[in-house]
């Protein structure tokens, strides 16, 4: 089992080496990057907005219920919701969801290209399939995931505020004050750093699984599932490591 893991890890780093080779045509790579940004990033905005609004709302409800004490001002509920969203919910939960949506898209589309010989067609033309197909995807994820997480933070905070107000769980003015009280910009940096690392994990691991598919449609499905599992493990693991390094 360990030797299998190490072989896989070695293969993953060799794959990254192939991905990072010099492109045959920068112009075509940029065109592909724009296409991937639209496909992987822009199309995820509605999902992220929807999830974040409700995530913020639920967080406010849970925190308000647990801190329902006349001696605790509603401002502290606002602070707790803000820190929860910025530090954990927006970067980690949204990344886990994107691992499912974007990661499985990447692995299944590359897997399909592999089994239908489209990658061989690229290779015959003298184009490095690893680089041409994967580098723009990694670039698109690295650029757009932090943007999605910023969206998620705003939507989560909005959802939290609206839920607190509509359900009369908090005093809206006091709650809102909590959003701005003792705000630490470093937490945004921490959140975006985590997101960037997760973006690389999602795009590269899913691409590696898709790129190495052998067989047919069943194997493409299997690779996609395995990729989501591997990405989720890696995200949770790196979430711990980065938190330990950046917040201790």
């Amino acid at each position: 089992m360990l030797s299998g893991f190490l072989r896989g890890l070695g293969s993953y780093f060799l794959f990254l080496g192939a991905v990072l080779r010099r492109p045959e045509s920068w112009r075509e790579y940029v065109k592909s990057f724009v296409r991937e940004t639209e496909l992987l990033g822009m199309s995820s905005i509605p999902l992220v907005v929807f999830i974040s609004l409700f995530m913020g709302a639920v967080l406010t409800i849970q925190t308000a219920i647990n801190l329902d004490d006349p001696f605790i001002p509603d401002m502290y509920i606002g602070i707790a919701v803000r820190e929860g969203i910025i530090l954990e919910f927006a970067p980690t939960i949204v990344s886990l969801i994107l691992a499912g949506k974007v990661g499985s898209n990447i692995s299944s589309s590359l897997g399909t290209m592999r089994v239908t010989e489209q990658m061989d067609a690229l290779q015959i033309m003298g184009i490095n399939p690893a680089s041409y197909l994967v580098l723009p995807k990694i670039g698109a994820c690295l650029l757009f995931f932090p943007i999605l997480v910023v969206f998620s933070i705003f939507m989560g905070l909005l959802g939290g505020y609206l839920a607190g107000d509509w359900l009369h769980l908090v005093n809206p003015d006091s709650f809102l004050l909590g959003y701005f009280d003792e705000f630490r910009p470093y937490y945004i940096l921490y959140s975006l750093t985590k997101t960037t690392v997760f973006a690389f994990i999602i795009s590269s691991i899913s691409a590696w699984y898709g790129f190495n598919v052998r067989g047919g449609a069943v194997e493409v499905g299997k690779a996609s599932t395995q990729a989501v599992v591997a990405m989720s493990f890696s995200i949770i693991l790196f979430n711990y490591i980065l938190t330990d390094v950046m917040l201790q």
């Binding site: 010989e117 067609a121 003298g126």
Partner: protein
Amino acid sequence: MIEVRGIKKTFGDQAVLKGIDMQLAPGQCNLIIGSSGSGKTVLLKSIVGLITPDEGQVLLDGRDWTAMKEQDRKELRQEMGMVFQASALFTSLSVEENVRFPLDFFSQLSAAEKKERVAFCLDRVRIPESALKKNPAELSGGMQKRVAIARAIVLNPKYLFCDEPNSGLDPETSIVIDQLIQEITREFGMTTVVNTHDMNSVLEIGDHVVLLRHGYKVWEGTGPDILKSDDQEVVDYVFRSALFKRVRSAMNK
């Protein structure tokens, strides 16, 4: 001219190619035939460099392709076109974009010149203009093969490789594809290598036919020769079919 010298390939403990030598002349359709598992796909993939052979050489007009560095190979690849069994058209691109794809990467042509070249190639394979903006999935199997041929010839290659181009096509469409491959080969003077198990293709376009069996080359000749051959390997491969038994007996009468 493509020269194959002593190509051997083993996967695990299974020897798939056991030392193949052959010469494939330009301006001809060179067909590699053989039953499933005979090694013809591995041989074709070894020739085009998708598989690295364990031993042997592939010479493309005297240039040792097997010994080349990746960068030199990349340049030489622009002299190659390939039609895959499942067409391998890029599903995220339209028909026109698929054919233009190699030009976008490797030519210095202006947009107008590219458009003209794409139109010429698609017209040459008889794809109507109405199909240009369509996605490959919207086309029939035969049309997809023709678009794949157009993409393969768009850079005006010296070598054209076709892996089972008639796979999944009806007999009528297969003949159209065969004739198209032959016309293009003659017209552009390419060295064409076709991997097939379709005996009709052998008779239709087989200028030079190589029969593989269990990783060995067991016979070579022309398409018409194969019907007259008494070679046991040819008899075993070709004349198991009732149709070809009848053809042979009709010829002998």
